[in-house]
C-alpha cells in the first residue's frame, strides 16, 4: 500500500519533471528575495525567479518529434505543405527572447540602486540600513525638538 503510493508519486514527478524543476527554482528565487538580508543576494534571487519563468515558457513550447521553428527548405523552390506539429511553438520563444533582455535591463537598474544605496549607507545589509535609517530619524526628531 505504502509502496504503491510512493511509486504513484514518483510517476507523477517523472511525468511532470519540468514543472517540478521550475517550481523548485521559483521557490529558491522567492526564498532568496524574502529571507536574505543582503541586497545583492536578493537581486540574485530575483534573477533566479525570472530564469525559472523563462524555463517554464520555453518548456511549454516543446513538442515531441518537432524541430526548431525555422521552416526547412524554405527557399528550395518547390512548394510543400507545412504541418504545425513538425515545428515547435514559436510564440513562447518570442516572448522569452524579449523577456531575457528586459530582465538584464532590470538587473542593471537593480544593481544601480544597490550601488547607490552602498554609496549612501556603506553597507548592503538590510538590517544595518534600517538601523541607520532609525538613527537618522531619532537625530532629526531631537534637532526638531530643540
Amino acid at each position: 500500500m505504502e509502496d504503491s503510493q510512493l511509486l504513484h508519486l514518483l510517476e507523477l514527478v517523472i511525468a511532470k519533471y519540468n514543472y517540478w524543476g521550475i517550481a523548485i527554482l521559483l521557490m529558491i528565487g522567492l526564498y532568496a528575495m524574502i529571507a536574505k538580508s543582503n541586497l545583492v543576494k536578493k537581486i540574485i534571487g530575483m534573477n533566479i525567479f525570472q530564469t525559472a519563468i523563462i524555463l517554464f515558457f520555453v518548456s511549454i513550447a516543446t513538442k515531441w518529434e518537432a524541430t526548431i521553428p525555422i521552416i526547412k527548405h524554405a527557399h528550395g523552390g518547390h512548394a510543400h505543405s507545412i504541418h504545425a506539429a513538425d515545428y515547435m511553438n514559436p510564440l513562447p520563444h518570442v516572448l522569452m527572447l524579449t523577456a531575457i533582455v528586459v530582465s538584464v535591463a532590470t538587473l542593471g537598474v537593480a544593481l544601480a540602486l544597490a550601488v547607490g544605496i552602498y554609496q549612501r549607507y556603506e553597507t548592503l545589509e538590510e538590517d544595518e540600513i534600517l538601523g541607520q535609517l532609525k538613527q537618522e530619524q531619532i537625530q532629526a526628531e531631537e534637532s526638531g525638538g530643540k
Binding site: A23, I82, A105, V109, A112, L113
Partner: protein
C-alpha cells in the same frame, strides 16, 4: 523573518506542485499553448512574411508593437541607470597615477605636475597597484573583431537561422564589455564613448519607430510593412521581410548600445574611471 519566509515559500511551492497535474505533459503537441494562434503562425508565417525563422517573423511583424515597447523599456532602464548613478562633478584628486607599461613602474604626479604625453608608453590608473596582464589584454583584443563580425552575422542572418536583433545586439554589447573588463573602462571609453552609446541607442529606437511611421505615411497601419513595397520594387510579402530586417537592425543597435551604457554606469558607479 527567515522562518516566516521559509513557510511562505513552502506554501507557494506546494500550491505550484499541486497545480502541476493540471498542466499538459511536456512536449504535447495538443497542449493549449500550442494550438490556436501558434499553429496559424507556423502554417502561414512563411507565405505571409517570407521569413523562414518564425521567431523573427512573430517578433518583428505579428507582435512588433510588443517588441517596440520592450525596446523602449530597455532604453528606459538605461536612462534610469544613468540618472541613478552618473556623477559629473566631483572634487579633483590631489594626484594622478600613471604606469609605464613596459616596466610596470607607477608614477605619482601631484597636481600641477607634468603629465606624460606619450599615451602608448604610459597609461593612467586609479589604484596604486593594478595588475597588468599582457595575455588577457592581447587575447581579448584579438577575439573582439571576430566576435563583432559574428554579432553582425547574427543580426543580419536572423531571417534564416537562429538569431536576430536582440541576440546579435547583446553579443555586440558583450564585445565592448569584454574590452572594458580585460583592459579598463577609460581606454574602452576612448574607443566607444558614452555619447556614442546614447546616440546609437536612440538612433536604433528611432529606426524602429521610423519604420512604423513610414508605413503609416504610405497609407498602411503602424508597423504594417506590406505597404513598404511602394518604396522598393518588391511584392508586399518580400517588403515585410525587408521591414523586419530594418526593425531588427534598429533593435540590435539599441540593445547593444544600452547594454554598454548600463555596464559603463554600473561598473564604475557612475564615475567612468577605471571600472572593474
Amino acid at each position: 523573518m527567515r522562518r516566516a519566509g521559509l513557510i511562505g515559500v513552502l506554501l507557494f511551492g506546494a500550491v505550484l506542485l499541486y497545480s502541476s497535474h493540471a498542466f499538459p505533459p511536456l512536449g504535447d503537441p495538443q497542449s493549449p499553448a500550442s494550438r490556436h494562434v501558434s499553429d496559424d503562425y507556423i502554417e502561414h508565417g512563411m507565405e505571409e512574411t517570407a521569413v523562414p525563422n518564425l521567431v523573427t517573423a512573430v517578433l518583428a511583424d505579428y507582435r512588433s508593437y510588443d517588441t517596440l515597447f520592450e525596446t523602449t523599456v530597455i532604453l528606459a532602464a538605461g536612462i534610469a541607470c544613468f540618472f541613478l548613478l552618473r556623477r559629473y562633478r566631483r572634487k579633483a584628486a590631489d594626484y594622478r597615477l600613471y604606469r609605464h607599461i613596459d616596466t610596470g613602474i607607477t608614477l605619482i604626479i601631484e597636481r600641477g605636475g607634468k603629465e606624460p604625453e606619450d599615451s602608448s608608453e604610459f597609461e593612467r590608473i586609479d589604484a596604486q597597484w593594478v595588475p597588468y596582464d599582457l595575455i588577457i589584454n592581447k587575447a581579448a583584443g584579438l577575439v573582439v573583431p571576430f566576435l563583432q563580425l559574428f554579432a553582425l552575422y547574427v543580426i543580419f542572418h536572423g531571417h534564416h537561422s537562429p538569431g536576430g536583433g536582440f541576440q546579435g545586439g547583446v553579443i555586440f554589447g558583450a564585445t565592448v564589455i569584454l574590452l572594458a573588463i580585460s583592459r579598463d573602462l577609460r581606454s574602452t571609453r576612448q574607443r566607444f564613448s558614452e555619447k556614442r552609446a546614447v546616440y546609437l541607442a536612440c538612433l536604433g529606437l528611432l529606426l524602429y519607430a521610423g519604420t512604423g511611421v513610414a508605413c503609416l505615411l504610405l497609407g498602411g497601419n503602424f508597423l504594417d510593412y506590406g505597404v513598404l513595397s511602394r518604396l522598393v520594387a518588391v511584392d508586399p510579402v518580400m517588403a515585410r521581410s525587408h521591414g523586419i530586417l530594418l526593425v531588427e537592425i534598429g533593435v540590435g543597435m539599441a540593445v547593444s548600445a544600452i547594454m554598454i551604457w548600463i555596464y559603463y554606469n554600473v561598473a564604475s558607479a557612475g564615475r567612468h574611471d577605471e571600472g572593474l
